[in-house]
């Protein structure tokens, strides 16, 4: 195009304005064309969207997504995993009691933790798994899930999964403010440390019913947005609010690019190529959460285990960030980086952040051996 366009420019040097008009016309044509050809289905459960239909939706505002995509989908999802509502998950489907010769293990966290639990279940009947997990569950979600659920079962072992990519977003309260593209509507409390004490701010609702109640009432929804802008560190009006911009492909694409840039910037505030900033608020909060998780589990005579998921390309940085707390409080843990080197593509499903099923089995074996070792030491 270098030569060709220069040649064209010379030939049409008196028709520049006309050319600009043509380009403008085509851009409008593309914008409208994409909206028509790749229109996102109104009922994604019946007509799952294609890759490109999903691709051009990524940039829709969070409110727009709630309206179009997530809201339609979340009603029919499996409530045990669901879209991560901490309350009203449908307790009937939850495993409450282990059978004879079985040990109940409760796992909390993101999909990696769910997959680990599934892999442990495949190892035989010895362990019965109670999974309370959500897609991409942030640190605060996993901790709250454990806190709300701990009186509901008699598990001897509690596992909490934490992953590198979520740690910088401890200040969030809504799945969608962390994962803009996916627009998870689930909510969870924000945790922080004040005078060495772990404190939290609860969102106005933690259940799908609460969400519906707020979403369907303009005043309440406005009130919720006010609350979000005050308490969610990652709330951004440009990303959140629905408007005319949702109707343009180009503007959606720009919003998505902006979201990616902001996400990267927020991530890099806490994380460098050498690892997490040890003096950051997020790491201090996480360490305290881990310690409190272990202490409360031990108070209930349970074995606490931290499952550290070192995401692709992030080295063993999360393990290193947590090691001082794990060592100080003698907390059992399984860090994924030895079995699944974060820089080895073979550890992961192609173009996916999850470990391969074979790696999950290896991780499950390692987790079982950690549990059994600890239980032998404790004489159980």
């Amino acid at each position: 195009m270098t030569k060709a366009l220069q040649c064209i420019m010379r030939i049409h040097k008196n028709k520049r304005f006309q050319a600009i008009l043509w380009i403008g016309f085509y851009l409008v044509f593309i914008d409208i064309g994409v909206n028509i050809i790749f229109k996102f289905p109104e009922d994604p459960q019946q007509h799952p969207p294609s890759l490109l239909q999903g691709y051009f939706e990524y940039g829709r505002s969070i409110e727009g997504k709630f309206k179009k995509m997530a809201f339609a989908a979340l009603i029919q999802v499996d409530p045990t995993i669901g879209y991560g509502w901490l309350k009203g998950r449908g307790n009937d489907s939850q495993v409450r009691k282990a059978g004879e010769n079985q040990t109940l293990v409760a796992v909390y966290g993101m999909s990696h933790t769910k997959l680990l639990g599934d892999a442990m279940a495949k190892m035989g009947n010895k362990y019965l798994i109670r999974s309370i997990c959500a897609p991409g569950a942030p640190v605060g979600w996993g901790y709250t899930a454990y806190s709300l659920d701990r009186e509901e079962h008699s598990a001897k072992i509690v596992i909490w999964g934490i992953m590198t990519d979520n740690v910088p977003f401890t200040g969030a309260t809504l799945g969608a403010t962390i994962y803009f593209e996916l627009g998870h509507p689930y909510t969870f409390p924000r945790y922080y440390v004040e005078d060495g004490i772990l404190k939290m701010i609860f969102p106005p609702f933690l259940s799908l019913e609460g969400f519906k109640e707020y979403r369907n009432d303009k005043a309440k929804w406005h009130e919720y947005i006010q609350w979000l802008s005050k308490h969610d560190k990652f709330y951004d009006a440009f990303l959140f609010k629905e408007g005319l911009t949702d109707n343009s492909t180009f503007l959606r694409v720009i919003r998505r690019a902006y979201a990616q840039t902001v996400h990267e910037r927020d991530f890099n505030r806490v994380y460098t190529k050498d690892g997490f900033k040890a003096d950051s608020e997020e790491i201090a909060t996480l360490r305290l959460m881990v310690e409190e998780f272990a202490e409360s589990a031990r108070r209930q005579k349970r074995l606490p285990v931290i499952y550290i998921v070192n995401n692709r390309g992030r080295g063993d940085h999360l393990y290193r960030a947590l090691k001082p707390s794990l060592d100080a409080k003698k907390i059992s843990f399984l860090s994924s980086h030895i079995i699944c080197p974060p820089d080895d593509p073979k550890s992961f499903i192609p173009s996916d952040g999850h470990f391969t099923p074979a790696k999950d089995i290896e991780l499950a074996k390692e987790m079982i051996s950690i549990i059994e070792k600890e239980r032998v030491e404790e004489g159980q």
């Binding site: 195009m1 060709a4 064209i8 690019a257 840039t261 080197p341």
Partner: protein, 546 residues
Amino acid sequence: MLFNSVTYFLFLPVIYLAYIATPKRHQNLLLLIASYIFYAWWDARLLALIAVSTSINYCCGLMIKGDGITARQRLTLSLWVIFICLFSLLINFNLIGDFQELFSFPLSWPTLASDKSRWFTFVAVCLSIVLCNLMYTKIGSHIGSKKKTLFVIGGVTTNLVILGFFKYYNFFVHNMEWLIKNLNMDPSRFHLHIILPIGISFYTFKGISYVVDVYRDRLEPERSYVNFSLFLAFFPSLLAGPLDRAKNLLSEFSILRKQTVALTFEGLHLIFYGLFKKVVIADGVVRTVNTVFGSPGQPSWIDIVIATVLFTIQIYCDFSGYTDIARGTAKLFGIELMINFNLPYFSKNSREFWNRWHISLSSWLRDYLYIPLGGNRSGDIKTYRNLMLTMVLGGLWHGAAWNFIIWGFYHGLVLSLHRALVAVKSTAASRWVPVMNGLKMFSFFFVICYGWLLFRAPSVETLVGFSSTLIFDFGNMAFTAIRPKAAAFLGIGLLACIELIEYLYESEPFYKRLPMPAWTALYSLVIFSFFLSLGNESVQFVYFNF
């Protein structure tokens, strides 16, 4: 300051507006100041190096021609070099590059007294200046060719010493560790913490070509120090070329340039097109390439094949994208930089490839290395030797690592093979020629790809491992790498389409016949793909490392 950064797109309009507002006779000075600010953005200490290098080449040029340097010029130059060295010594480096610190004056006096090495360097520079001034009359009294030879050798050697020290010293020490250990010495004592000055390979090569061209009487020495400094430091081409010759670039600086609307449009178009190649394609595939080449394990056959092909595309889009932005920026100031790429992946053989790829470097190597070595004038064996030597040194120019040497050797071998086989005439009937050419292009593309595998491999062990996987794991289709960005596929498709049109139709009549709705549609798709890639992470240009 990356070309694909927000900082650059704030910097460029400011300089452009200042340039328009400046009287024509001072425009070169403005461009020089802008170039030094641009360079200092990374590490302001390195300004001293470029100023010293400029002064040496400038003086050598004048001395070769026999014009001499007046006492006043000598004094001014000496004071300038001392000033810039003092500035580099005092500057609290890297603060300028940090945008948050931009508005605080980055001098840190308290740290100075403690840093003896900086003072040592400064004293050494001052002593050298005094020595040069004292010896001037003695050296200047030499006459004719003796003086010319003395200064051409001096100029070339100084450039090579600067390049060798900053770029190859640690590589040399690292490879000589066994010898140092055998001499019962501690190798760590010889390792120095040297920062590789960005763009050093480019401005030292420019300096060499200038001195040699003056020596060969192909060029009159430049008498304006500002113009000469600008020749070495002109910011669009400072960091990664093109390696413009002094004859072309100095003549651009010595005339009163005209800015036309057409030139501005062409410049803006080139900047946009360069950004398209860089942001949409190169940055869109970089993660896939990095996961495979940076993998600690052994990737599968298909991983390596895809990553290598993608790197072949990445390096072309990255480097030619840089060149387009550089050329476009220069055009905004009414300056024409040379074309550096001419559809290189449409080459049918290695000779053609080197006439189309990084043209400014390959022609530099031809003129200042291959031909002085004897070229093809002294029989077959010496021709092959010269080819191999030129390509190996060309490989080494890219970086102080064995894989670059191996890459150079590989291309030397391919060039030699082509030379040996070129005598075998094609017997294909003329109607089959286009088919044969297509086949040649297709097969030669994979020869280039393997070359890029050698180039990209982070170590010799990786290179050997990947090469053996290509042979012994042939057909393993288990793809484990991250997929490239979706917009990169659209970008690659558009680029292939545009370049194919360019390759097939070089004549103006074709473009005259091409209706406006057709080419504006293509242009709109390029804009669309650019929008889709706005969120791509901004990655440094590959050639900045060289």
